[in-house]
């Protein structure tokens, strides 16, 4: 099962490697990202960020979905990391057994026009496509989606935040 799908525009970094891996007690880490799956330099830096004792796979989103559905993983705790809400939504639509989706940090490095972005949470800036993906994600009945940057921050519900935007 997936203990958490984390949306983080820095993928694996200090908050993730040091803090969340401890919190979630998930020694299996999968980065689901098309760019990382073909970029050797990104793969090298991501590997540096992984704490000892943890296993890492770096796969395209499509390949990762197959792994998430692999029966061998059903009784293991897998921590999945993506860098956009769109990728998280794609995974949520195609994988059962996801405990929750944490839209933690997003949209700061996507190079799209800052004027087009909506701030949904403190460190979550969504361009129009990402905002649409967030709405689709929040509409999935089986998925618990929220924003929680660090374990000792409060969980802010995605659906609630989106409905506040419309007010």
């Amino acid at each position: 099962m997936i203990s958490q799908v984390r949306v983080d525009d820095r993928l694996i970094h200090g908050q993730v490697a040091v803090v969340w891996t401890k919190e979630l007690n998930s020694p299996l880490l999968i980065v689901a990202n098309d760019e990382a799956a073909r970029n050797k330099i990104m793969q090298m830096t991501l590997k540096m960020a992984v704490p000892t004792g943890m296993k890492l796979l770096i796969r395209s989103v499509e390949d990762a979905i197959q792994i998430f559905n692999d029966p061998r993983g059903s009784n293991k705790r897998i921590f999945a990391i993506v860098n956009s809400v769109s990728d998280a939504t794609k995974i949520a639509k195609n994988v059962q057994n996801i405990d929750s989706i944490n839209v933690a940090n997003a949209g700061r490095f996507d190079k799209s026009d800052p004027k087009q972005k909506t701030m949904l949470f403190h460190s979550v800036l969504l361009n129009p496509e990402e905002l649409t993906a967030a709405q689709e994600l929040a509409a999935l009945p089986q998925i618990k989606a929220y924003n929680q940057v660090l374990p000792n921050n409060p969980r802010l519900d995605l659906k609630e935040a989106l409905s506040k935007l419309l007010e």
Binding site: K22, L28, Q43, K47, L56, L57, L150
Partner: protein
């Protein structure tokens, strides 16, 4: 067991580490700091206040910036004068060791456990050679 942490440095390194801890782990408030020599004020009483605050059923860890430096010397002097075995002093401090101990699930620090954390948090020369082998582990090995 309750733990107390103090970082003491020449200038603002202690405040800088505290700022990083806050961003990384929301733990800035879990450390006390001494930024020494920014003013002429004697900072020894702040060290003493910390050592005094560590109760018998607690542990204290003091991080200093430079082994053998004056801040470290003052800290060692105060800890020895306080005659407390439950306070550890770490020097040549980096962010990795502070984070590691702040987030440690261990109930009780020992010389061994702290030494192991220090080994894991060493200053490192980063290899910039791209790996030639398969970059990630085989799927069979993963599960």
């Amino acid at each position: 067991m309750k733990k107390k942490f103090l970082i003491a440095s020449h200038g603002k390194l202690a405040a800088g580490l505290q700022s990083s801890l806050e961003i990384l782990a929301n733990k800035g408030k879990d450390v006390e700091i001494i930024n020494a020599y920014l003013t002429e004020e004697d900072y020894t009483p702040k060290i003493t206040a910390f050592t005094t605050s560590v109760q018998a059923d607690e542990q204290g860890v003091i991080f200093t910036d430079l082994f053998g430096g004056s801040v470290n010397q003052k800290v060692v002097n105060q800890v020895l004068a306080a005659e407390k075995k439950n306070i550890f002093v770490i020097s040549n401090t980096n962010l990795a060791i502070v984070l590691s101990l702040l987030l440690s699930p261990e109930d009780t620090f020992t010389i061994e456990s702290i030494s192991a954390a220090i080994r894991d948090g060493q200053v490192t020369l980063v290899s910039l050679a791209l790996p030639t082998d398969k970059v990630d582990e085989d799927l069979n090995e993963f599960f």
